[in-house]
Amino acid sequence: MASINIKLNQEKLGQLQAICKEFNNDKGELINVLHKAQHLFGYLPAEVQEVIAQELKTSAAHVYGVVTFYSFFTMTPKGEHPISICMGTACYVRGAEKVLDEFKRILNVKVGETTPDGKFSLSCLRCVGACGLAPVVMVGEKVFGRVSPDGVKDIIEEYK
């Protein structure tokens, strides 16, 4: 595996190796390692996956297989303010789709994309469990409840 060209800088590489070590380089802990790694880098690019594979003594294909299986893991960097629209059933029947359409229209991106300036990324998620506030939108950690298509503009303004 020495032939792999690792582009990460030394400091980040060290932090990543430390994460793997924290879980005893046990490949059974792969998902926990990926969670921490994504927290560190914001996403899981190929180089990061290769390092993890080396450290946990498994194949890069296995790591890639796991990363792409779970929707929580992403290989593209998220925007500075990640916007997630809840598409759980409760939000759906209370008009979440119209809210999503409005976000797509204003930001001019599709679901899963990031705006060219890197400010906003748009994604859908399944139920944050705040069904009483449906439809729900999350920007970063903050939850916005009872969002109407008309309210979308104001939410975006808040973060501009």
Binding site: N32, A130, L133
Partner: protein, 597 residues
């Protein structure tokens, strides 16, 4: 310990926290401190009260006053009026929508009257971050009793007698599962708590972990004692940061108190719990998939048998139960299996927690005895349909369940009745729909979910569901034929019969149940090319009313595709071939002349 004469309970569930309940908590504390009342009145953050519709909730004990939709601006009034002068703040009390009367005591609210809270017994009562409060409500008494007075066999016998069935959806008898795992011989066994609540619209497991984490820890230890396991694992969604946080705190406190770890309560029994995180895959709610995910693999299910009770995590016998199932266990031990078995119906004992959501007045988390009717749940507890609209359907069981109609309103809810009605209990999501919801779109919405979440291992689920959604899409576009309806039905049956795991075997349920109960809507889409609820955009037609149109040209000027023609002060007409159905004309018309048909 300080003796308080009054307690202010602030809801700290995810829903209420999203509407500033943390600020309310802080402000209440500060306000009390400023008045020197901090030793008289205690403020605590509790788990979810369930009445999310009217959150944030602040409850005053001992008089049971239930304040709804509280904001930080209300804090001073609550302190000045209620705490100091003993006068309730009328405007914050819940108003009975029928009589317009204010309800002073939460026991008399329609939302709570028909509920029976066993799994949720402590949610909204105790501070989930303080083990003493759990112990104060008989917490860890059941574990103590099991370890000191009962043999594992006796405990399993109690569980079997209680009739408790798995609350995660399958409904497998919990006691029997424990017994099978006990009988499997191995040097190491595992207790797994399935907290990967992926069903969109269901949030009971999260609320239990956020509001009463110790009940799950205690039950897992009891289960460990019964099956000879020394290790417990909680598989929890990474999307639930608050539940994870509270669970971690609770585990640490239990260790400090010697209720987890080596030689628990001097009995010689060792047990400890670790967390494993999910990463967003619905299929991981299936026990074999969940186990693979915990092993660091892709969460793909495998054939059963062997069942996890025989060969599970790291090929060792593993007992998997979900959060709500575990939450029932300590109460069953404390109060006896007879007490529990007396609640509910013959084949479904006890209570079930439902997440009531959708087009209903009282959205929230409820716990009711099995056997209650949908009518009681929707119209009594749920307070009926929003905005006075007509009830159309209720979807139970999430993406694996089906839609029930007014014909089923008086059916007693239990595992078997729901299945014979073409739906299922599932984890307990209950989404209410009104006359504006298009059932074909709803079926499509659920399939969309299944297609996205299908792990791709077996072809009926991977390919079949994709074909189903293509047919549904065609129907919503107004291009469906009668043959498509036959194909939908046949293909659904094949997917049900041949898929590998529970996800695929149940994924066509939303299609089949809507076809069964709302066939006329499918016909309307296919034959008349109309969507009766006006949801399917492609089937809508924007028209201008001759009488109301004054010829102001506003619609024509705002139409982005120039589909509207007409002279000033003359009737305007929409060219249907060009119209993209954006709705700009309706928005701009001041004379209500544009309408959809």
């Amino acid at each position: 310990m300080a003796k308080y004469k009054m307690h202010l309970l602030v809801c700290g569930g995810t829903g209420c926290r999203a509407s500033e309940s943390e600020a309310i908590f802080q402000d209440l504390k500060t306000a009390l401190l400023n008045r020197g009342l901090e030793n008289e009145v205690q403020v605590i953050t509790t788990g979810c009260f369930g009445f999310c519709e009217k959150g944030p909730i602040v409850k005053v004990m001992p008089d049971n006053t239930f304040y709804t939709q509280v904001t930080p601006a209300d804090v001073n009034e609550i302190i000045e009026e209620h705490v100091i002068k003993g006068r309730k703040v009328n405007r914050l009390l819940y108003e009975n929508p029928e009589t317009a009367e204010k309800v002073e005591d939460s026991k008399h609210m329609g939302f709570y009257r028909k509920q029976l809270r066993i799994a949720l017994r402590n949610c909204g009562f105790i501070d989930p971050e303080n083990i003493d409060e759990y112990i104060g409500r008989d917490g860890y008494q059941a574990l103590g009793k099991c370890l000191s007075e009962l043999t594992p066999e006796q405990v399993i016998e109690i569980m079997k007698k209680s009739g408790l069935r798995g609350r995660g959806g399958g409904g497998f008898p919990a006691g029997l599962k424990w017994e099978i795992t006990r009988q499997s011989k191995a040097d190491q066994k595992y207790v797994v708590c399935n907290a990967d609540e992926g069903d969109p619209g269901a949030f009971m497991d999260r609320s239990i972990l956020e509001g009463d984490p110790h009940s799950v820890i205690e039950a897992m230890a009891i289960c460990g004692y019964c099956i000879d396991a020394t290790k417990g694992l909680v598989y929890i969604r990474a999307e639930y940061p608050l539940a994870i946080e509270r669970l971690k705190i609770a585990i640490n406190q239990a260790r400090e108190y010697g209720l987890l770890g080596k030689d628990i309560l001097g009995s010689g029994f060792d047990f400890d719990i670790e967390l494993r995180y999910g990463a967003g895959a619905f299929v991981c709610g299936e026990e074999t998939a969940l186990i693979h995910s915990m092993e660091g693999l892709r969460g793909e299910p495998t054939m059963k048998p062997p069942f996890p009770s025989v060969s599970g995590y790291l090929s060792k016998p593993t007992n998997v139960n979900n959060v709500e199932t575990f939450a029932n266990v300590p109460v069953i031990i404390n109060r006896g299996p007879e007490w529990f078995a007396a609640i509910g119906t013959e084949k479904s004992r006890g209570t079930k927690v439902f997440a009531l959501a959708g087009k209903i007045n009282n959205v929230g988390l409820i716990e009711v005895p099995m056997g209650i009717t949908l009518r009681d749940v929707i119209f009594e507890i749920g307070g009926g349909i929003k905005d006075g609209k007509k009830f159309k359907a209720v979807q139970t069981g999430g993406p694996s369940g089906g839609c029930l109609t007014h014909r089923h309103l008086d059916t007693p809810i239990d595992y078997d009745n729901l299945i014979s009605a073409g739906s299922m209990m599932g984890s307990g999501g209950m989404i209410v729909m009104d006359e504006d919801d298009c059932m074909v779109s709803i079926a499509k919405f659920y399939l969309d979910f299944t297609v996205e979440e299908s792990c791709g291992k077996c072809s009926p689920c991977r390919i079949g569901n994709k074909r189903l959604i293509e047919i549904l899409d065609k129907i919503c576009q107004g291009k469906g034929t009668m043959e498509d309806l036959d194909n939908l039905r046949n293909l659904s049956q094949v997917i049900k019969d041949t898929s590998l795991c529970g996800l695929g075997q149940t994924s066509p349920n939303p299609v089949l149940s809507t076809m069964e109960n709302f066939y006329e809507e499918y016909i309307a889409h296919v034959v008349d090319k109309k969507c009766p609820s006006g949801q399917c955009k492609a089937l809508l037609q924007y028209t201008i009313d001759e009488e109301n149109c004054v010829g102001c040209t506003a619609c024509a000027r705002n139409c982005p595709v120039n589909a509207i023609s007409g002279e000033r002060k003359g009737l305007h007409i929409i060219d249907q071939a060009v119209c993209i159905k954006c709705g700009a004309c309706i928005e701009k018309c001041k004379f209500n002349a544009v309408f959809i048909k």
